[in-house]
Amino acid sequence: MSRTLPLKHGRGLRPLSIATLVAIPIALVLVFFYAPIEAEEGFLQKIFYLHVPLAIVTLCGFVIGGLLAIVHLRTRDRQWDLRSYVAIHMSLIFGVGTLITGSIWARGSWGHWWVWSEPTLVSFLIVILLYATYQPLRFAIEDPERQARYASVFAIVAGAFVPMNFLAVRLSTAYLHPRVLGSSSNLPPKMAFTFLVSLVAISLLFATLCSYELTAKRTRMLLKARSRTLGFR
């Protein structure tokens, strides 16, 4: 395979995959055997170590997608557009995971699957719905150059909306949703450590899946290009 196609990409894939495969079991062991059980919510609070890192990684992924899109518009290099697309695509998958795990937590904690009066939930849903339009918009444009340019503009505008939305929710007055990061946060050391390890594990998973997706996409593009050069397609 390497003789016919010079596959240089995906070089960091193996160490990244190994790091993820090590970090996730460590995080799970810490969540279920090391972190103390919370006094008010009890065992249900264990969802926190999955749901919150997922939400953080999702929002960061959207912002990273926007930053990569800026680099694409500055350099006109399609590789940056591809990276931006993959970051947003993966964030969307993680975002769906955040919504589902959050919904399960809400049901157990508040007795409702969804609370429309809670700004954190609704704002997160708005962000996900906004990004749900990214792919239809992107693939509605046939010309690859225009597609990449328009998608980058979308990624930048939506990427800027994410931190503004986060700030707006923070400044709002309703505090039904538990605050995790900020001055009001006072997690016990064992819980804080477990949370940090979980965040690292979920971030590594995100990076690994992005890397897999990028490698797969580049390989397919290379294969198509080689077929065209050889006059097969």
Partner: protein, 67 residues
Amino acid sequence: MTPLATSIPGSSNNGYVAAAYIVFFAIVLVYVAIMALRLTRVERDLRALNERAEPSRHDETRERETA
């Protein structure tokens, strides 16, 4: 170390915790399965490309030899 099953307040909520973790790992698993399917398709295309490239390469060398 905190034993998992001992003295869990609100243990009726254990199902929700299990559901959240299972759903998350199911999403990852489905994604990896989709990636594996795509990889199989790429491998098939690559094999087809190699098979088609090999005869044409043989033809080229034969033409060069006869010339």
